[in-house]
Amino acid sequence: MSEPLGVGVDSIERNARPVDLLLKAFRQGKPGAFDAIVRAHQDRVYAFCARMLSDREEALDIAQEVFLSAYRNLGGFREEASLSTWLMKIAANRCLNRIRRRNSLAAREVAFPGPGEGNEPSFQPPAPEAVQPDRVAEIREVGKILEEALARIDPDSRWLLLLSDVEGFTYEEIASMAKIPVGTVKSRLHRARMALRKILAPVV
């Protein structure tokens, strides 16, 4: 995974991560520094939110909240993780909260089997119309098929798949975000992949 490019990289500090320079510039109160941080991370944050929520407006709201939260709290950011990890952690938490609120508002109980329940994959079986071969055949682009399939995965598995296999975060980074052991990340991720593979089986 490559860090997003930032501004302010000079020859002397070539080895420093560009995000660190942006952060430094922001803390020094340089004008436009926060703009540069937003520009460097907005596509990634927005795409993650959009794939988590499957709703453009909600994704826009949450992405805005993520950056505003960062704006207020960057002073206390201790750089134990990279800025992108920190932002994606905020985004993941906010998306999961939004999904929970949405579910409670809809008063719909979606039951996902917990981990360790035999060999059954931990995902919601796809709705019949979503995996009908004739309908899937109509969807030309693989990306759209994937995103539809992702929307069928339970949110706790979805964000793992997005961060690991789409955004390229390491298992260790995800473990630090979720505050769970690396082994748990790996096992949950494997179940999520198998669930997605089952949804996509008619296509791939």
Binding site: V38, F48, N119, L196
Partner: protein
Amino acid sequence: MNCEQVRNLLSDLLDGSLPDAVRTGINGHLQECLSCREEREGLEETLLALRTLPPGKAPAELLERIRRETAREKARGTPLWKKLFLPAHIKIPLEAAAVVLITLLVIGSQNQELPELFSPRPAARMDAAPAANEGGSGKSAVPQRKESGGASTEMAPAPKPLASPSRSAAVGKRETPVRPLDPSPQAALPAQTSLPSVPAQRVSTAGERIEPEAPPPALALPAPLGRMVTIEVRAENRAGLEERIAAAALRLGGSAQMDDAMAGEMPEGSENGMRVRLPAASDAPFLEELSRMGTLPPERDAGGAALSAGFPPGPVAYTVRIRVR
């Protein structure tokens, strides 16, 4: 290896994180098992699809909205408390100092020796006791010392350590002649904990003994019925005496009342009695009037008694006994 074991390890196999021996075992199984091989290929294609998912593009609206909100927050300004306490290098030492201070205060408040640091030394406290009295309930003790004409106050050998509840009730009344000067409860508490139980001998530097104050004359004591006055008249002058006394009282701005209930209270030999209430200024003229009507005993000169609570300030009252010679 069976199918279940192999399928559980497919992600690790594709990550390349398995030991050689395990990987060899899985590959051997996959060569023989078509179902597991298809599973592995399907998972590989899924991962490939995920990793090649086109990157998203944030709408330009997002940056505009963030700029607008951050500008609004900047205009609002950071609250002062946040400026002071948000940076960790300020907040953490301040919080640590606060914790230490609170701990010290809690320990100090539980330690009974701590007030000793701030209170006068035991030797000085003996002389300070009257002064401590002045601040609190000792207001009544100060005038008492003045009444005693500057005489020194020698305490009883074993003074009461604390003021009794009846002491506060005595405030405002006439003081009894000799009373130990008790320190106020607030001043007595630290003394109790720090002083040895040596009886205090002297609270004044004047070096004189306190002489018991003479009891006040009976006529000076307040009485509910006022001062008792006996008028002696001859038998021939007895008729209509009550009316004449009442007329004198009315003339002097007061009032008079015959009270049959007084019959039982009257001393032996008295025929009757009446109650008279007068303005303070009419006290002496009334006694003059009485002396013209009959003979008054010599204690009349003590003056009218001040009424206790219940009457407005100023008036004096008499209970006039009529005795026939």
